[in-house]
Amino acid sequence: MCLAVPMKIVKIDSAGKALVKQDDLETEVDLTLIEDPKVGDYVIIHAGYAIDLLDLEEAQERLKLFRALEESG
């Protein structure tokens, strides 16, 4: 029920909207639901709104785990 995609904030305007980017795709999203967003943050986007930040460190940790599993297996 929830198509949502991570994209990176490249610009934030004064009206609470952000320009986000993924590959060559840029689009505008609303940041109203995010506490303290910053340029460079990755946000999860659903229906034109950022619904939360993506924790890249967590993502990295998880990937490390996957890779470790692959190597030991």
Binding site: L3, L25, T27
Partner: protein, 337 residues
């Protein structure tokens, strides 16, 4: 004739204004050595077996990034001929204009038609224009009928496909349908995408030189690659297709926009992509032939025909699973779920 005005019902009535429209706006843009004068019919000669096809274009909006209804009207119909193994030669063009359609837009469309025709080396040699009352049309609708000459005696057909044959695609998918959707729905996402509208004849001519090793080819228009792949084996009781998801070329922006909109790139229309099925021994040659041409630079093999699931298209997914690659169903609409 001034192009600052709008089309009126009188322009389609057959009287003085109709003549003015045809003689002063439409014909000057389309005339050629093959279309030397305005008459009720135009004659031409084509040696040997002739192919004919017709298509009607109702694209909304009529102007979109990468092309317009005129570009589509020419390339679309020529491509239908090309994938059957025919060299497109002549087109007719029927227009249904809605009262109030700006004359300047009509001129733009006609100029697109001319440019596309010149690029495809075809001539528009007959046409007709009607006008419907405001509210009864979509601005502009276009029908083009195309005739072409057979490149050779070998007939392409899905019936030629056998287990072991290779499935090739000429280039990356998804741009056209997304560009139209974005333009029509005012979606800011995918605003940067452009239609891949292009003539496929050079690719088709190159593949046709493979003779019987070329089994079948089709342009992946409405319904996208998924529709063509399914068409290829729908009534085949001996083989189906097995396609590798990781082999299907999808531009990054198309993938990202599809993710956001809940669409599947393999179901999105293209206007510059073809799928071909060739004998296994001809696959490498076919790919290098395609890659030597402008619109085929990213051609590659995406799968093969196999006997395990006759009549079906099976996708081997990136993660190594298997599932059916179904025909698209219903309208292409953005989703939240």
């Amino acid at each position: 004739m001034s192009t600052s005005g709008r089309i009126t019902l009188e322009h389609g009535s057959g009287g003085a204004l109709s003549r003015q429209l045809t003689e002063q706006l439409i014909y000057p843009i389309l005339k050629s050595e093959a279309y030397g004068e305005l008459a009720d019919a135009t004659s031409f000669e084509i040696p040997g077996r002739v192919y004919i096809t017709t298509d009607t274009y109702v694209v909304d909006p009529p102007f979109f990034p990468g092309g317009d209804i005129g570009t589509l009207g020419v390339f679309g119909t020529c491509n239908d001929l090309a994938v059957c193994g025919a060299r497109p030669r002549y087109l007719t063009m029927g227009l249904v204009l809605e009262e109030g359609f700006p004359t300047s837009d009509l001129k733009r469309v006609l100029e697109s038609v001319r440019r596309a025709a010149d690029r495809s080396r075809v001539r528009v040699i007959s046409g007709d224009t009607k006008v419907v009352p405001s509210g009864k049309g979509g601005g502009i609708f276009m029908n083009t009928t195309g005739v072409g000459e057979a490149l050779g005696p070998h007939l392409l057909s899905v019936k030629n496909i056998k287990s072991g044959d290779k499935v090739l695609i000429s280039g990356p998918i998804g741009s056209h349908g997304l560009a139209i959707l974005a333009a029509r729905e005012g979606l800011k996402i995918a605003a940067s995408l452009r239609s891949d509208c292009a003539p496929l004849f050079p690719l088709c001519e190159a593949l046709y030189s493979l003779g019987k090793d070329l089994r079948f080819m089709r342009d992946a228009t409405r319904g996208g690659a998924a529709a063509v792949l399914n068409e290829a084996v729908a009534n085949n009781s001996e083989c189906g297709l097995e396609i590798l998801e990781t082999a299907i070329p999808v531009p990054g922006a198309v993938a990202a926009a599809s993710d956001l909109l809940g669409l599947n790139p393999v179901e999105i229309a293209n206007e510059g992509v073809l799928i071909a099925v060739v004998a296994p021994t001809a696959a490498d040659k076919a790919i290098s032939l395609l890659r030597s041409l402008d619109t085929g630079r990213e051609a590659r093999q995406i799968g093969a025909a196999a006997g395990r699931y006759p009549g079906q298209v099976i996708l081997e997914t990136a993660v190594g699973g298997r599932r059916i690659l179904d025909l698209p169903r219903g309208l292409l609409l953005p989703r939240i779920c």
